[in-house]
Symmetry: C2
Subunit: 149 residues, 2 copies
Amino acid sequence: MQTTTATTEPTPAPVDVCSAPPRRHPRPDGRDSYTISEVVAFTGLTAHTLRWYERIGLMSHIDRSHTGQRRYSNRDLDWLDLVGKLRLTGMPVADMVRYAELVREGETTYRERHALLEATRRDVLSRIAELQDTLAVLDRKISFYGDAL
Amino acid sequence: MQTTTATTEPTPAPVDVCSAPPRRHPRPDGRDSYTISEVVAFTGLTAHTLRWYERIGLMSHIDRSHTGQRRYSNRDLDWLDLVGKLRLTGMPVADMVRYAELVREGETTYRERHALLEATRRDVLSRIAELQDTLAVLDRKISFYGDAL
DNA sequence: TATGGCCTTGGAGTGCACTCCAGGCAACCC
DNA sequence: GGGTTGCCTGGAGTGCACTCCAAGGCCATA
């Protein structure tokens, strides 16, 4: 089950540890190396975007095949899942890059990561509250139009 | 008490009827005419943005003083409140302009307005669900970092 | 050997939602 | 009259997050 990429395992390469993130799209088991187009299929992002994420430092360096093509690991996909979630919160990409840098710097940044996620959590809560507020307005208007019809 | 703008009252000018929207920022009572900078203070939008909204048709024509300066009514402020709410949902400005057009066209567009708001409502619900999903992920990570500290 | 498919790169382009600028008018205070 | 403030306009500029382009490498199949 636990296929490990020999290329990355020796150097534990600081990654986003934490409990295993739930994977949304079924990923084939027993593999740990995907082409960019497979990742496109899993994530819904474009290949352009994936390469751009790498360029701006939102993803740490991705493995390459002997011909120089990108080979994404399950860890990379987990990270993309998290990025997708953070994107939904409206977090700017620059902030996500900051978080990625903290992850790359290793365990010494736990405190700062904790603070960053706490702040994000507060943002998310207030966005949910705003949306629920908006929902109330929509419901009032919808029932107005519903009654008028 | 009821200061009415003589210019708009004769022609009831189709506006967003429905029940009275709750006003967020305290507006002085007994007035129905505000300068652009007052509206800036009430809404948090910039004067540029307010003029731009008008240019693109997101606001119907705003009253003018004898010198040509904009004079916003309470109805305009109510509309801006709604626009603010819709903006929070992530609705594109173009869609809001569409809704504004429907409002300007009068009662015959009730059905379409109803449908548009229903669709928006569904969007909002799914966004809330996404955010709650994200919140769960954040909580897991936050408690991981919290435990590790 | 050639054709097609998948991938690579740096850099330029796009769409959205503002945001600002230059130049000018009107009103008010000293 | 001069200075300041507030507002006006059309049009250009900005920042973000992609999105696309052109030119080319590698490799499998016909």
